[in-house]
């Protein structure tokens, strides 16, 4: 009996202390309304697919933030199908969540739906791939900047002035894809200023490492003095790397690529597979995204009336500039205070 009374008292005390904690939120003029804003809100994420690092990082960050601030977070995974994505978006417009976070498969496919969602009063944040429709916020990389950095690395590494052959090859993904199209424009603009650099091949491998391998192995054999390969995504460029390794030209042909900066990228820089890497730091993007969610939900502007962008700061990583914290792991994401 003594024990029972003791436990009951302890439980009552505990409940009391929790409720006092909430009631006693220090009023600095903003904090109480800040926390109130998120209670019971519904945030939905529509990724390209949940099966690769970038959406997993962003989703984990939103989940953590949702738990901390008390909003309900859910994911609709269309698994690379833009049709399934468009359907999910249409259904969501009728379900009216408080905020939509959308990862676009290309520039056009969701554009009208995103505008319709905003007309129906749902704010929309686009992440890393922006459609032609401008919504409440865009959080993500400026692909043009990525292209400029990659092209500059190639020029620096291959300039005939520095005794190199000046020959580079480019491995594209899908030409119609927005990041592909924008990055290529930047590369072309840069190379136009460097007539001594010659592009010996500019082929597409549809983001597929096997195709990239086949193309690169042919191109490397055709151009024994090739100086660098510029690839547009690290996953596809695993194929280019394999072709370079096979030809015994690791280090002789520089491989310059881009990606979200997860640990395998740094491993590949360390072991000489990638010589230059433009990272758009997905874990940093995740923080930008959670901040944008906090902002859009607090400001409560009419959806679409005050669009803004948070363009990801990018960093160039090479073996020389790499540091212990240049890349991140999923454990870092799980432990991060979003």
């Amino acid at each position: 009996m003594k024990k029972f009374i003791g436990r009951t008292l302890a439980a009552l005390l505990a409940i009391g202390s929790v409720s006092t904690a909430i009631a006693d939120q220090f009023d600095d003029g903003l904090a109480p309304s800040y926390y109130d804003t998120f209670k019971g809100k519904k945030v939905v994420f529509l990724p390209l697919a949940m099966s690769f690092d970038l959406p997993q990082v962003w989703a984990k960050a939103m989940e953590t933030q949702g738990k901390r601030l008390g909003y309900d977070f859910s994911v609709r995974d269309p698994n690379w199908s833009s049709d399934a994505g468009a359907q999910a978006l249409t259904t969501l417009i009728t379900e009216k969540p408080d905020l939509l976070v959308v990862h676009n498969p290309d520039m056009q496919v969701y554009a009208r739906l995103l505008q319709r969602a905003q007309k129906e009063g749902i704010p929309v944040i686009q992440i890393n791939l922006k459609s032609v429709a401008t919504t409440d916020a865009y959080v993500g990389v400026n692909w043009y900047e990525v292209g400029l950095h990659q092209a500059k690395m190639a020029v620096d590494a291959c300039s005939p002035a520095a005794g190199k052959s000046g020959k580079i090859a480019i491995m594209q993904g899908t030409p119609t894809n927005p990041n592909n199209a924008i990055t290529m424009t930047a590369i072309e603009d840069t190379l136009a200023q460097h007539p001594d650099i010659k592009v010996v091949s500019s082929q597409s491998a549809d983001w597929d490492a096997t195709k990239a391998h086949a193309v690169a192995s042919t191109v490397i054999k055709q151009n024994p003095d090739l100086c660098a390969y510029v690839g547009l995504w690290e996953v596809m460029d695993a194929g280019v790397a394999a072709a370079i390794r096979e030809a015994g030209k690791t280090g002789a042909i520089q491989l310059i690529t881009n990606g979200g900066g997860q640990k395998p990228a740094c491993d590949n820089i360390e072991n000489g597979t990638f010589n230059g890497y433009v990272s758009y730091d997905a874990i940093g993007q995740a923080r930008d995204l959670t901040d944008a969610i906090a902002q859009v939900l607090q400001v409560k502007a009419k959806p679409g009336s005050q669009p803004y962008g948070i363009y990801t700061p990018i960093k160039d990583i090479s073996r020389e500039t790499m540091r212990a914290n240049s890349c991140w792991t999923m454990e870092d994401v799980a432990a991060a205070p979003f």
Binding site: W80, A214, T218, V235, A241
Partner: protein, 331 residues
């Protein structure tokens, strides 16, 4: 196959699709050798064959099924998911042998299920395997691997070495050659091989003749699934990673292209390993030449599509619909 179907040409030259495709391949080969500097080069020719070796290996598996008048649209999904699981298991600390054993068991189970669906449940092969392809991918994503791309660890030396080269010849080319010889011997000289032709040619007649039609059909899909697993291991070794998205790509159509282009008719019962080799070589020469020419992606697709279309037109001219095919229907 009746004599009238094949011997349409004059002067002893048989106007078969295989001959026509071989002739086109030869023309392209000579043309590229003369016009493209660097094409007729031992190292380029080796890379040409290496680049289509995986496609050729899958083509042999597909060819065996098509000869038995079936089709395996799940082949690429089986390849991707069984290998991805193997590599994922290695990453989780399993021994290479155990991981390969489990991957192989998964591929075999997929083959047997498909075979049973086609042979015993009597679902048309095209639907059974199409549905299975989605099931394999979905199940794989749900239960076996959680990422699209799984990297092969650096210390996995044995598995990495199966795509090295031997005396300057890339190992994938050697695996392709060995498999081609084995498949040739199997189809030509074994009882089971002959059964496949009989079943493909006329299922009902084969059954009356006492051939165990249903078990043989299961074996066909088992073989194609196991070959798919082998092709997957070689690809994983070559690229040091597995990308399961290939399961949703158009690669399975490339495999069918290789088979049909070489002249294994989709109505079953004819053709052999030689047809697959011819088809594979033509695609290899085309892809290699177009890459050297730095031809844009869309243009390459148009050329590939046109070649397939021409092959189908030639096939329908060389092997016109007759009483037998009309009765049996296509797959």
């Amino acid at each position: 196959m009746s004599a009238s179907q094949t011997e349409r040409g004059r002067g002893g030259f048989k106007l078969t699709q295989e001959n026509i495709v071989f002739f086109i391949a030869l023309l392209l080969f000579i043309g590229f050798s003369v016009l493209l500097p660097g094409f007729f080069d031992t190292s380029n020719l080796l890379s040409l064959v290496q680049n289509v070796a995986i496609l050729g290996i899958l083509g042999i598996g597909m060819g065996i099924v098509v000869i038995g008048r079936g089709i395996d649209l799940a082949m690429v999904a089986t390849m991707a998911l069984s290998t991805a699981w193997t590599v994922a298991l290695i990453n989780r600390g399993f021994g290479t042998g155990e991981a390969i054993g489990l991957g192989l068991a998964f591929a075999a189970a997929v083959g047997i299920i498909m075979g049973v669906l086609v042979a015993y449940v009597e679902i048309p092969a095209i639907f059974a395997t199409l549905a299975m392809s989605t099931v394999i991918y979905g199940f794989g994503r749900l239960a076996l691997v959680d990422l699209d791309v799984i990297y092969l660890p650096d210390n996995e030396i044995w598995l990495r070495s199966i795509s090295n080269s031997f005396l300057g010849v890339p190992l994938p080319v050697i695996w392709f050659s060995v498999l081609a010889i084995l498949a040739y011997l199997f189809l030509r000289f074994t009882k089971w091989g002959r059964y496949f032709y009989a079943i493909g040619d006329n299922r009902a007649a084969a059954r009356i003749a006492g051939i165990p039609v249903r078990p043989m059909t299961v074996i066909q899909y088992l073989i194609s699934s196991i070959i798919a697993f082998g092709a997957g291991l070689i690809t994983a070794s070559l690229l040091a990673s597995v990308n399961i998205r290939v399961a949703q790509s158009t690669m399975v159509y490339d495999v069918i292209l290789v088979v049909v282009l070489g002249g294994i008719g989709l109505s079953g019962g004819k053709g052999g390993v030689r047809n697959i080799l011819v088809g594979t070589i033509l695609i290899g020469i085309l892809l290699n030449g177009m890459t050297i020419l730095d031809m844009p992606f869309t243009m390459q697709n148009i050329v590939k599509g046109t070649v397939l279309l021409i092959a189908i037109i030639v096939d329908s001219l060389a092997n016109p619909r007759d009483e037998q095919t009309a009765q049996q229907g296509d797959i």
